[in-house]
Symmetry: C2
Subunit: 336 residues, 2 copies
Amino acid sequence: MRVALLGPVAWRTPPRHYGPWELVTGLIADGLTALGVDVTLFATLDSVTSAALDGVCPRGYAEDPSMDGRVWEALHVAHAFSRSSDFDIVHSHLDWLPLAFSQHCEAPLVTTIHGFGDRRIMPAYRRARSAFVAISDADRVPGLDYVATVHHGIDLDALPFCADGGDDLVVLGRIHPDKGTAAAIDIARQAGRRLFIAGIVQDERYFAEQVAPHVDGDRVVHLGSVGPQERAELLGRARALLHPIAFDEPFGLSVVESMATGTPVVAYARGSMPEVVDEGVTGFLVEDAEQAAAAVDRAGELDRRQVHQVARRRFASSRMVADYVDVYGKVLGERA
Amino acid sequence: MRVALLGPVAWRTPPRHYGPWELVTGLIADGLTALGVDVTLFATLDSVTSAALDGVCPRGYAEDPSMDGRVWEALHVAHAFSRSSDFDIVHSHLDWLPLAFSQHCEAPLVTTIHGFGDRRIMPAYRRARSAFVAISDADRVPGLDYVATVHHGIDLDALPFCADGGDDLVVLGRIHPDKGTAAAIDIARQAGRRLFIAGIVQDERYFAEQVAPHVDGDRVVHLGSVGPQERAELLGRARALLHPIAFDEPFGLSVVESMATGTPVVAYARGSMPEVVDEGVTGFLVEDAEQAAAAVDRAGELDRRQVHQVARRRFASSRMVADYVDVYGKVLGERA
């Protein structure tokens, strides 16, 4: 089976620090290749993959202000589709643009929907010739032709188990109202614990007004964006990951990454969280900051080894890759 | 010859008030059809044309806040290209997106470049499989495969000649620093004449800070956006059109429209202006507000009938359409 993986080009694959869609696409490319599948990854040309690499973007447009993302994304999609007849299936992770041009894709197209952003992009989905994969049941919207829900998997080897988590709390991800960074500061204060904040600043004003004033380098520490290794260490030595989201998060990679290191999660019960967190086993689902602070106290009672083992079983990259092999079979079988 | 005209979909074709790219595309569609050419215009589905009409957008995305322009433009281009093998030539007026996907166009593509906007879109031009038409020699950039320069034409019947122009000045076009609306206010003040301002507000802050404070309803009158008929009357009864641009304008439709009514133009000598304005015949090219005010005084000496006649000869829609027929012949001939 010849598979084209059409990845996003905002960041290199795998990303140097941030880039969850690129991260997942890269894991699928490597995982399929390890299974002996003939995979071509369409990504930035500085990407690192065990699959064959093709593309037109010299680097990620989010890493180079001289690049217009709209233009390079279009050139990238057009190039990949011009090679589409070389493949048995094209698997896109690249938002709505390939869907708008899906009639120019000469192989069956399957699209993993990493999130919808603005609902005004829906016409591209509703008119597309594509099968869809949801990344959580919570993220499904009515009326689209879903072939499966496939929860993301992660590279477990990069997130070693830490038997002892320490006393501090951590919040991870882009700093934006959606991610609840300010709520995490409030929860840590109520729980009387130190908070480490890691992630790119996506909303400058929110950061300046609601986050930065609380950063004192002692009780609230802002680390900026952290690379994969520092991320693993930061998660591993935490008592709990706080995930007080203010939106219906489609998946939540950082939650799973935390669990892989053995660190349980205290998350607001929105979006995919009830699917991803096993209540009382890998963490706690709460409704507000007060409940979250109480859950932080109880987090010490959870068995970190069991948290780690559940994450291994449910969210290994190999499980995700196997699920996608099933998806491809289903899509190709349905057409046969 | 079967021609596909790929028009923009920000506005209806022809536009109700603003939409210069749609206006020109519509004129070419109607002009070619009148010559017996088999034309399909790809535009919004509420467009009015004597050509065959096709498309997917129910209306212009700039006229409906619920539409995401990027998404609908992509759906529009993808649809037109899916029909490209039905045509001998595809003639695009739609910026860079069709160029990025030009390898999916199954007929020879020729693109009229209405302007470059941000230079970061250049990679789409440099990598495209398309012949290019410049709308002025001034707007050509080195290294692109230009087949011709075709100055825009206008619908002369909609812009009747006015023998007597009156005393007032007019500035027409989107209200934006590029267009020099504030400079026009200064020039009118120095010339001691009333100024009528017409056009959509494209830069709200510029309007609020540099235009609105001077609007008194007497010496400086803001009319908002005006439809085609009011536009013709406004131009016809003016002493001169002010065009004190602060950018290298690729063409300048309002300048030609003014000349068609017999009203001469006082323009800053930038971009296409030296090509479009015949110095001392259809107007004056100046460098600053002081020179412009002096030119306003001299504008009364120009022969309005001659201004009109030169405009008729140089900028009739029929001349533009004939030029494009030549372009198509050249593009198809070069391939044969």
